[in-house]
Subunit: 122 residues, 4 copies
DNA sequence: GTGGTCTAGACCACC
DNA sequence: GTGGTCTAGACCACA
């Protein structure tokens, strides 16, 4: 896994799990990787993963069965979407729109940039 | 001034100055508020403003005349726009697009959100 | 059976047995559910029940006949009451009283809450 | 400070702050001890205090001013009372009432025990 | 095996 | 100076 310097690693791990749920890689009832295993996989201290899982549990996206591990909760997909969307609409978008306006970028231009972005990956 | 928790205060001050320049409130040759005055106005430690002005000077948007204060540089407007645009296209947009795709938000929806945002302020 | 997150499961199983004895559901000489059966009933790892029965044996509330299972001991009722009461007066009550005082809850209010609790179940 | 083995230290630190607020030792606008100072005072690792303060911030009882420290929030007293009361009524009381009933302790008896507790300290 | 907690110590950005 | 994050490693209770 590759880290972004400007965001705490434990939050990036949260994002990873949320995205796995949104993509359907993880489904309700599935067992999440154990703290130790995920920590090993992403080469991070187990404590860091504990923190990520703690946040996800608090959001109702994961739940813990003592001694067994963490599992994907009921409606995790909807909750994950809400979680992500809330963050996006409340903290990312206003800034984006403000900047767009300030720079005089039109929605058409933005659309274009989006298509460029789309064509970039594949 | 109201602070956003997710961004360093000194960067938010930078943003404020940049925006004032892009809006034309501050023009080439104008004297920027003194460190002290701006610090007082936004209720912040003067050191913080020093840091903001330092960054703006480094970007060639402000220049310092010793004993007199900071002034808006030649072509500050263009430089400010470049500074902002670079940051926006390189670090903000990719993330935005990725999230849009993940959440299944269409450009139409985004357009709608933009109009909501527009109608919010005035 | 429904678990309380703040108490170890094996202790909640102990509570269950103690309560069955105090209510008279289990009497001296009765055979307690086998480890396996109880474990299946409450959906728990048999090891966990073993631990609960171990504690109850240690308290003299159950005894084990090898090959036959666990049985309710002589005077189990009195022992169970003592066990429960000791725990209650020594560890639970002081904390309760301290909190009551801190929150300014009067004994009248507590009485009210008790009646609410009573009316809740049936 | 003296620790209770059955409760996480970071939660006992939370309790300490909450109680200080309820007793009026800490009032809205006051600065809480810095993480390092409180850690030194209660002889605990700073990380542990960070965790306690984090929880209190999440509950809206403390707030953080970057670079300056933690402060007691507006209405901290009410919030602290709610926080404590909720925990008490939802997780402590039901258990207490259930046990009282099981042991056949009447509210009169409980009252008596309370008076004994009151006379104990001074 | 699982997660939960704590320590010691480090580095960082920020004020 | 402040808090925020991360690591390394330990110990514990629990299943």
């Amino acid at each position: 896994m590759t880290w972004n310097d400007h965001k705490a690693i434990y939050l990036q791990i949260v994002d990873r799990v949320v995205e796995d749920i949104l993509r359907g890689t993880l489904k309700t009832g599935d067992r999440a990787l154990s703290v130790r295993d995920l920590a090993a996989e992403v080469q991070v201290n187990p404590n860091t993963v504990v923190r990520s899982y703690g946040l996800l549990e608090q959001e109702g996206i994961l739940y813990n069965q003592r001694g067994l591990g963490f599992f994907i909760a009921e409606n995790a997909s909807a909750k994950a979407r809400d979680f992500k969307k809330k963050e996006f609409i409340e903290s990312t978008l206003p800034d984006v729109f403000k900047t767009i306006k300030l720079l005089g970028i039109s929605m058409e231009e933005l659309n274009l940039l989006y298509q460029q972005f789309e064509n970039l990956k594949p």
